[in-house]
């Protein structure tokens, strides 16, 4: 008789049992996450009331009561205001956004020339997407195309006036196009400029250090709107008579300088976080200053401050909306300009336009912040212990 026949010994594992009913399923989830303590229950109740008070009216206003189609203000105005909606009606006027959509994208750019910004936009997206995907090769060529060739192409295509293209003055530009150009140029200029300023602030030459520090602190200390005022009012004073800048270019300069100062501080944070040994190691290898920076310090420093850099980009993107104050029609500016369009003016038009503009801004900023989180996680892997 073998041993196994004397005593019962289990030969195989029991199948796993599901957790008891009280510890799984929706009921348990609600108990653990919503009504764990009496205080929790009260808070959940308050939150539910808040949601009930906010969400249904918002959905109702945005979608159910909204006027989706129409050709003029009558669909968005009540009978008393000269429209077709019943008295007391209030809902989003998406017909307004629909009919003005192209204007929101391109401003008053001439209709027959709109293929130019569209072409630039397509090129931009085609170059940007492979740039953002870390797995794809040829980043160097891609970067040169995106930051070197594309600006030149855009500079020829968008204003025109050469190669047989009719000239489109920048006063006619507007909408999302202007917002994107301002932010792209701001981003492309502020990063190298910020790096130079940050290096200058840490330089051993006192005059350069003082100048860079002064520039950074002054620009960071004052609101963007004063910088824009400076660019639009004082820049002409600094130039000889007859030499003028385009207003668009002035705003570009203002926005770029402003972003550079913030970028410089972010980059400086990264430079300070690099241990001294890295600098000394590079020096002992006999590298020149720029070799040391380009090959050793900056790659490490910039990687450290990616979140800060992206936050600056997001800030810059949001700040471009300020150019509407100095009389340019970016996305927010053109939306506001259309509030006074007699064909569409109604009580709900401003709210609808602003909700639309807010949504567009939100998508871009949220996308940027999500992408930065993704990059951070990806680059972080090398350092995890």
């Amino acid at each position: 008789m073998s041993l196994s026949q004397i005593n019962f010994v289990r030969q195989e594992m029991l199948p796993q049992q599901p957790a008891p009913l009280s510890a799984r399923g929706a009921v348990n989830w609600i108990r653990a996450n919503l009504i764990a303590t009496p205080k929790d229950a009260v808070m959940t109740f308050v939150a539910l009331i808040l949601l009930a008070w906010l969400v249904p009216p918002a959905l109702d206003w945005l979608f159910i009561k909204a006027a989706w189609f129409g050709t003029d203000r009558s669909v968005c105005a009540t009978v008393a205001q000269g429209g077709i909606q019943p008295d007391g009606w209030s809902g989003a006027c998406w017909a307004f956004v629909g009919s003005k959509f192209e204007q929101f994208l391109f401003g008053r750019y001439p209709l027959e020339e709109r293929w130019r910004p569209i072409l630039v936009g397509i090129l931009f997206v085609l170059l940007l997407i492979p740039m953002l995907m870390p797995k794809l090769p040829h980043k160097g060529i891609n970067a040169i195309l995106l930051f070197g060739i594309l600006p030149v192409v855009s500079f020829i295509l968008l204003p025109g006036g050469m190669l047989g293209l009719p000239f489109v003055e920048t006063a006619l530009w507007g909408g999302l196009m202007v917002t994107l150009i301002l932010s792209f140029v701001g981003i492309a200029v502020s990063l190298p400029f910020g790096i130079v300023l940050a290096l200058g602030r840490r330089s051993k030459m006192p005059v350069i250090r003082m100048l860079c520090t002064m520039f950074i602190e002054i620009v960071r200390g004052i609101p963007l709107i004063t910088v824009l005022f400076m660019a639009s009012v004082m820049l002409p004073l600094f130039l000889p008579q007859g030499m003028t800048f385009d207003r668009f270019l002035r705003a570009l300069i203002g926005v770029s300088l402003f972003a550079s100062a913030y970028m410089a501080e972010v980059v400086r944070g990264g430079l300070q976080a690099i241990p001294k040994g890295q600098y000394e190691g590079a020096d002992s290898l006999g590298l020149s200053f720029w070799q040391k920076m380009n090959l050793i310090v900056l790659p490490q420093a910039l990687k450290l401050v990616i979140p800060g850099i992206v936050n600056t980009f997001i800030g810059l993107f949001k700040d471009t909306s300020l150019v509407s104050i100095i009389g340019m029609f970016d996305l927010l500016g053109i939306v506001r300009l259309n509030f006074s369009d007699a064909n569409w003016a109604s009580a709900v038009t401003p709210m609808t336009g602003l909700v639309f503009a807010g949504f567009v801004f939100w998508i871009f900023c949220f996308g940027m912040s999500r992408y930065s989180g993704f990059m951070e996680r990806m680059l972080d892997k090398g350092h995890k212990r």
Binding site: N33, L34, A36, D40, M43, T44, A47, L48, L50, L51, V207, L211, E217, I218, R220, G221, I222, P223, L224, I225, T226, F229, M230, V233, M234, P236, L237, F238, L239, P240, Q241, I314, K318, D319, S321, L322, S324, I325, L332, R336, F339, A347, V348, P350, M351, L354, V355, A357, G358, F361, W362, C365, F366, S369
Partner: protein, 364 residues
């Protein structure tokens, strides 16, 4: 170096030439000129005969008004949302997250316009204003509320209030000294509350309640009496508070997260009650992390208040812009802007340095 010097020389030369051509006398003499416009909301006496300098002062006080009220509200809202983000309650933490992600990713200018032209401008006219509790009225002219009118002896109440605060400070010092020496505790918070509320109230009643209110009355076309906060101020104030609160919430969350769990556990192991643990162990350490970025958010709010110009609220930048258009003294006005905002930010950084030095972790 030489190129830079030449560039500066070239700029200065051009500027002088341009100013001469435009017939603008440089210098700050224009500040004594007659302004001749009405800035709307003002905290200090101002007539259209007042000087440009006084107009700038009005602008500065208005900037400070919206900054201080905005900072106050944004801090409260930001702390509520930030603590809500840490909540175990799923609904609360999701709601807070939605709030933060919504307002962080929208330009503040857009939020201002949202309140100004989206909400406040479409409110009913003054004659059928919405009435709120405490006889307040909300209309497209702004929020009208009862303004207090102080009687003869009202100042005694304020004096009592100040005395109560001084007494509270002394009491707190004394009680902490006694606790150090003897270990006996004293109900400090309750006594301070009694002192600060009770003493002024007693004096107020003893002097015969010298306070009455001037109530707004809905007239045929407008509200008369009371005080009115214009829609410009309200939209700016609401937008700045809501926008900055989203950033403050994230700072608060990071601060509380930054206090390691071992601290709480150690405090519990020592037998300190949870509420005391929060007050004496977690909050002081979290504050060390929170305060520096918090002050820079306050500074951001102050700088963002310059967006007032978009809705016509008479702050420093808006009034400066008006004066700039009237007199053409662009360099002087921009210099004043820079000096004011720069000194605000320098003051803040002085405070931050002092605070950091005081709170820095003393490692032995």
């Amino acid at each position: 170096m030489i190129a830079l010097a030449l560039l500066i020389y070239w700029i200065v030369d051009n500027t002088v030439e341009n100013l001469r051509r435009a017939n603008i006398a440089s210098g700050f003499g224009f500040l004594n000129g007659r302004a001749g416009f009405d800035p709307g909301q003002k905290l200090i006496q101002f007539t259209s005969d007042s000087t440009y300098g006084r107009a700038l002062l009005v602008g500065f006080t208005n900037t400070m008004l919206v900054a201080v009220t905005g900072i106050f509200t944004a801090t409260i809202l930001g702390f509520i949302v930030g603590i809500g983000r840490m909540s175990n309650n799923w609904l609360i933490s999701r709601l807070s997250l939605a709030y933060v992600e919504l307002f962080r990713n929208i330009p503040p200018l857009l939020v201002i316009f949202f309140w100004y032209s989206g909400v406040l401008a479409v409110l009913p006219q003054a004659r059928d204003a919405i009435s709120l509790p405490f006889t307040m009225y909300l209309s497209n002219r702004g929020l009208a509320f009862p303004s207090p009118v102080f009687g003869d002896w009202a100042f005694l109440t304020f004096v009592a209030f100040i005395i109560a605060i001084v007494a509270s400070v002394v009491l707190a010092r004394w009680s902490s000294k006694r606790q150090m020496a003897t270990g006996q505790t004293f109900p400090v918070l309750r006594s301070i509350a009694a002192l600060v509320i009770g003493l002024p109230l007693l004096v107020f009643l003893a002097t015969g309640a010298p306070l009455s209110f001037d109530y707004p009355v809905a007239g045929k076309f407008n509200l008369t009496g009371g005080s009115v906060v214009g829609p410009e101020f309200m939209s700016l104030f609401l937008a700045l508070s809501f926008y900055t609160a989203a950033f403050i919430a994230e700072i608060v969350r990071a601060g509380i997260r930054g206090v390691s769990k071992g601290q709480t556990e150690a405090a519990h192991a020592l037998g300190i009650r949870p509420s005391l643990t929060t007050r004496l162990v977690v909050v002081p350490q979290a504050m060390r992390i929170i305060i520096p970025p918090l002050t820079s958010q306050y500074l951001n709010l102050t700088k963002n208040s310059s967006l007032a110009i978009a809705v016509g609220y008479a702050d420093l930048v808006a009034l400066g812009g008006t004066i700039l258009n009237q007199t053409g003294q662009s360099i002087e006005i921009v210099t004043i802007w820079i000096i004011v905002y720069l000194s605000l930010s320098l003051l803040t950084s002085v405070f931050m340095n002092w605070f950091n030095a005081k709170m820095a972790l003393v490692e032995r």
